[in-house]
Symmetry: C2
Subunit: 226 residues, 2 copies
């Protein structure tokens, strides 16, 4: 039950990775996929999966991939809660930019103290989203995905607010900074170029031309939904 507190850093990182991969496809997560994302070898993944399986954190049958148990999911949500709360802290209280927070939050997310994280939550006034627009699970692991659409998939003339990024790599985030794109910006899709899928948008008054790749990594919340 409270084994959560006995987990090693490595175990926590595996659980987190399996959670993220499990979100995307609804399938079981492949050993190779975990290895690739964690920059380790498949054989190492197999070893760890066996260990996690014995701790009842994952469901595992040889050669059949892996999925989180409810205990594993709860654990993952706890780690993600910590990661995202620390990201908010770094941006709001320590003036980090959104491309600088991930690396440090990767370390901070492993600090063990319920009191610490709940106090941090309170200090930050219980934020619901992190600096990249991703939802922050509450104390019990509950969280709501925000209604949002990829900019690349909304019809022409859609109006909305930029509420998140799909890719939160430093490279992409710095690009957005350079082009004055930030969460909270008002966006209108003016034109879509059929040839390459690039978009002509109006963002906070300015006009901007963005490629399909960029648009496919920006989330907006539209106004015209019920």
């Amino acid at each position: 039950m409270h084994k959560l507190y006995l987990m090693t850093r490595s175990e926590e990182n595996y659980i987190k990775t399996i959670f993220h991969l499990g979100r995307k496809g609804t399938q079981e997560v492949a050993t190779n996929a975990i290895a690739e994302l964690m920059e380790t070898k498949p054989s190492s993944v197999t070893d760890m999966i066996k260990k996690l399986s014995e701790k009842n954190l994952v469901n595992y049958k040889r050669y059949q991939g892996v999925s989180l148990t409810s205990l594993g999911t709860k654990t993952a949500l706890g780690i993600i809660r910590k990661h995202r709360l620390w990201e908010v802290f770094l941006v709001e209280k320590l003036d980090f930019s959104w491309d600088e927070v991930h690396e440090v939050a990767e370390q901070l997310e492993h600090i063990k103290s319920d009191k610490l994280i709940d106090s941090l939550d309170r200090l930050l006034a219980f934020p619901k989203f992190d600096p990249h627009g991703d939802p922050i699970p509450d104390k019990n692991g509950g969280f709501k995905e925000r209604d949002r659409d990829l900019l690349s998939e909304v019809p022409i003339n859609t109006v909305g607010v930029c509420v998140g990024v799909k890719d939160s790599s430093a490279t992409f985030l710095k690009f957005l900074d350079k082009n004055g794109i930030a969460l909270g910006n008002q966006i209108r899709v003016k034109e879509r170029e059929e040839f390459d899928g690039s978009l002509n948008i109006e963002i906070d008054g300015r006009n901007l031309q963005i490629s399909h790749v960029i648009a496919a990594n920006l989330y907006i919340k539209t106004n015209d939904e019920i």
Copy 2:
């Protein structure tokens, strides 16, 4: 030079322990002393000392004890700076009590990010002392011990302000809380019982009888010094 960033958690803990033991006696630090404080075995200490020695963090000759090099000292001060800044953060921003901060700070002190710690320093308005009255090294490792005396050693009728504790165990700190003793309290030594060394003091207006052991773990800053 920048090997500081390649240190493991365990290496950092040894360096910190050697620093603390080195402060007390001016001697070389004994293997057994390190083992006892870290709750490990002398043989493990020897192993680690060899490793630290190869990294130029400690001076070591077999059977002759160990001392920090200047690089080792710098490293230790960096860790202590982080530890104490995090303690201030926990008390000032997250409403931890002074007996709760140590355990969590032991974890936080190993987070690696210069930007993080310097921003934290700024957020806290560059504090000079931690919640137990211990000095916080600055960015370059410089710090000044405050002029202070153990309450057990000042003459009768000395007046001063409580500025620190020698023992900062949770047990002692909770005892102080229970008896309404805190940093900043105004203290006057009224009487010293020869038989057992206990003291009769006036603290923020109240009268209090404290044992020698308690007095020997409380620092005051007196007014009558040059």
